[in-house]
C-alpha cells in the first residue's frame, strides 16, 4: 500500500487508560471522519485508512436517477470495516432531521445518528430548540443520538438530559477551519457532562486537533480539515498523530504556566562562583 508508512502505528504507542466508549460500544480510534468533499473516492478511501478512524459519517440524499454511473458511497466504503454514522446534515427543522434519521436507520446498519438541526445557512450554527426536540423524539424511538451542537454548556446539559449518548460541540463553524475558538467552553462542557464529548467541526490543521484533545474531550469528528487539504492522505495521518498526541498530553498533565522563567539547568556549580 502506498501509504503504509503513514498508517503504521508508532512503536512507542502508550495504551489509553480509558477505552473510547459511546453507548456501551468501544471504538478503536478517538478520531472520527466524514466522507464529504474529497477530490476522488480513491483519495477518500486512502485518507480514511490513514486516519485510523473507525467511525465514518455519511449523509442521506436522493439517488440521482439520471446518473451516468454515479454510485452511492457504499460502493466504495467497506461497511464491515467501518462503523457508519449517518448524519442529518442539511436539515433545518426537527421534522426533517427526524425523517432523515428514520431513513438512515432503515438502511439497516445501526440505530445511531449524528443529529444536526441547522439554524442558519451562513454560519451553519445549530437550531438548539429544534435539536432538543428532535433528540427527544429520536431517543424515544430507540435511536442512539450524537447531537451536533454549539459550545453552550446549558444546551449540552439539556441534550444529555434528553438522552443523547454523546454531545458534539463545535470547535468553530462547520467547514471554517478556524480551530477551537473557545477552549474554556469546551473544557467546561467536558467537565460537567457524563456522556462522551466529541468536538465536531472547525478543526483546520493538526495543531487544532491536538489542542482540542488537550482539553480532555473524548474525541473529534472532522471532515473538511482532511478532505480540503492539499494532500488529504497525509493530512489524515497528521490528524491521527495529533489526536493521539493531544490525548497523551492531556493524560500526562501539563506543567503549570508561570509568568517568569525558571532555569532548566543547575544554577550551582558555575565557573568562578
Amino acid at each position: 500500500m502506498a501509504h503504509a508508512d503513514l498508517i503504521s502505528p508508532s512503536a512507542h504507542t502508550l495504551s489509553d487508560p480509558l477505552p473510547f466508549t459511546i453507548a456501551g460500544r468501544e471504538f478503536r480510534s478517538r478520531l472520527m471522519v466524514g466522507t464529504g468533499k474529497y477530490p476522488s473516492n480513491s483519495v477518500m478511501i486512502d485518507a480514511i485508512e490513514a486516519s485510523g478512524a473507525e467511525v465514518v459519517t455519511v449523509a442521506v440524499r436522493r439517488v440521482d436517477l439520471d446518473r451516468s454511473k454515479e454510485e452511492g458511497i457504499l460502493h466504495h466504503l467497506d461497511s464491515d470495516h467501518y462503523f457508519l454514522l449517518a448524519n442529518t446534515a442539511g436539515c433545518y427543522n426537527a421534522g426533517d432531521a427526524i425523517r432523515y434519521a428514520r431513513l438512515a436507520r432503515a438502511a439497516g446498519f445501526n440505530e445511531w445518528v449524528k443529529l444536526e438541526v441547522i439554524g442558519d445557512q451562513q454560519t451553519l450554527l445549530p437550531d438548539t430548540d429544534g435539536l432538543l426536540q428532535a433528540t427527544k423524539t429520536l431517543v424515544d424511538e430507540g435511536f442512539k443520538v450524537l447531537a451536533y451542537t454549539n459550545d453552550d454548556l446549558i444546551t449540552a446539559l439539556k441534550l444529555e438530559d434528553a438522552g443523547a449518548v454523546a454531545v458534539m460541540p463545535l470547535a468553530s463553524p462547520i467547514g471554517s477551519g478556524l480551530g477551537m475558538l473557545n477552549p474554556y467552553a469546551i473544557r467546561t462542557i467536558k467537565q460537567r457532562l457524563s456522556v462522551p464529548v466529541i468536538v465536531d467541526a472547525g478543526v483546520g490543521t493538526a495543531s487544532d486537533a491536538c489542542i482540542v484533545m488537550e482539553q480532555g474531550v473524548d474525541g473529534i469528528l472532522m471532515n473538511t480539515g482532511i478532505a480540503a487539504a492539499q494532500d488529504p492522505v497525509r493530512m489524515a495521518a497528521a490528524m491521527r498523530a495529533a489526536v493521539e498526541s493531544g490525548r497523551n498530553a492531556y493524560l500526562a498533565g501539563r506543567m503549570p504556566r508561570r509568568e517568569v522563567a525558571v532555569p532548566s539547568s543547575p544554577t550551582a556549580g558555575m565557573l568562578g562562583s
Partner: protein, 75 residues
C-alpha cells in the same frame, strides 16, 4: 426516448413525475431504474418501506410519491 404505453399512470419519484405501465410493482420500477434494492431506502407517500421482500408484490398506484435515497459522502 421511450414512449409511455397507453395504459400508464403517473407517479412521482424523487420529485419528478413519470408514467409507468399499469400493473408495475415496485421491483419493476427499480429494475427499470437499474437500482439495487439493497443499497437504497424507499419512502412511499411518507412511509418508509422497511421490508425489501415486499417490493416484488407491492403494486404501485396512481399518484404514488416515492423518495429513493442512499448514503453519500458527508460530514
Amino acid at each position: 426516448m421511450t414512449v409511455a404505453p397507453l395504459d400508464a399512470f403517473p407517479i412521482t419519484v424523487n420529485g419528478n413525475e413519470r408514467r409507468i405501465p399499469t400493473g408495475w410493482t415496485l421491483s419493476d420500477l427499480l429494475a427499470s431504474l437499474d437500482l439495487d434494492a439493497r443499497a437504497i431506502v424507499i419512502e412511499r407517500n411518507g412511509t418508509i418501506l422497511r421490508d425489501r421482500s415486499t417490493f416484488a408484490s407491492l403494486a404501485l398506484e396512481s399518484d404514488d410519491a416515492l423518495e429513493i435515497v442512499h448514503f453519500v459522502g458527508g460530514g
